[in-house]
Symmetry: D3
Subunit: 68 residues, 6 copies
């Protein structure tokens, strides 16, 4: 099964905060902390919890670049 989204970063959940509609999830990926906002429903249906191994998946049109 292949998804067209070109970015997939493997990590572990370090923080998980549930709001009324949304959930904030922080994933440790090497030395980076990736933050994701998904629906609370997805977080619950996926049974996400701290320590879980997950991938952050990002469509390439959503990635901006910054140059110093």
């Amino acid at each position: 099964m292949t998804l067209s989204a070109r970015n997939r970063l493997d990590g572990k959940i370090e923080e998980l905060q549930l709001g009324g509609v949304m959930a904030h999830v922080a994933i440790r990926v090497g030395e980076n902390l990736i933050e994701s906002v998904i629906t609370r429903r997805s977080a619950e249906e996926m049974k996400l919890k701290i320590g879980d191994t997950v991938s952050a998946v990002i469509k390439s049109t959503e990635v901006m670049l910054e140059k110093k």
Copy 2:
């Protein structure tokens, strides 16, 4: 200067392809290759070239999670 986007991954440009309107840029971030699609105009105005140090910047609402 602070941007609300919570994800910033530092890397080096490994590939750069210019189309008519868009540009495809691949950035090496540790063991991951991050792919970004920006406008050709931004790529030109930022004078992006292979080897440049850049950051991939991603709003957290654009980050999905996948669990195996």
Copy 3:
């Protein structure tokens, strides 16, 4: 394997147009035609062709509503 994106619409590819960087794909989902723009690279690596069975996958934060 579960993705947090909550929308998945199964259909068949009816049209496929490759540009320099991006690709335009139209998918028949019942009586709707769903249009997707992905990278040309993804279209090629996934070997997409007309008639393929695929799913359109959409993060719920990207879905707007309109009321008449």
Copy 4:
């Protein structure tokens, strides 16, 4: 009046949940359930309620594809 967003799926609201800032809306579109996250303010100003006929509107750059 025409909007450039190429996807418009007509359906009926089946579920509506209001959070502090966001609202989660599920729309029945044929055999699919489309989920949308919009601001609570939009949900209130549009006076959305269960049973309303609405369209889900999606920009094509936000549609990913998955192939089995």
Copy 5:
């Protein structure tokens, strides 16, 4: 007819560039120049041309903030 997207900026098209799949459109909104990337098909079907009065429409979840 109401769309949930909360941002609508009225302006005039100043530049229009068609690529193979995408189109780049610049709109004068007061002293700002707003740039939009839509599909070439939408640009053609909407018959966009320089001087047209259009609105830029943006979902609020896509708006980042920057503070100096």
Copy 6:
């Protein structure tokens, strides 16, 4: 420091509402009110408050067009 996002609108914060996970911010930009949804964490870390001068930053692929 340059960001690839092509739209930057300078304004002043007129409204700020914090939810559990997200924050809703309204910015006066000339005669337009721009609304942004960011994470509550960003709003807090940036110490956003009413009257602050900020820029709304938007990637051009997120801007739709509407023609009357």
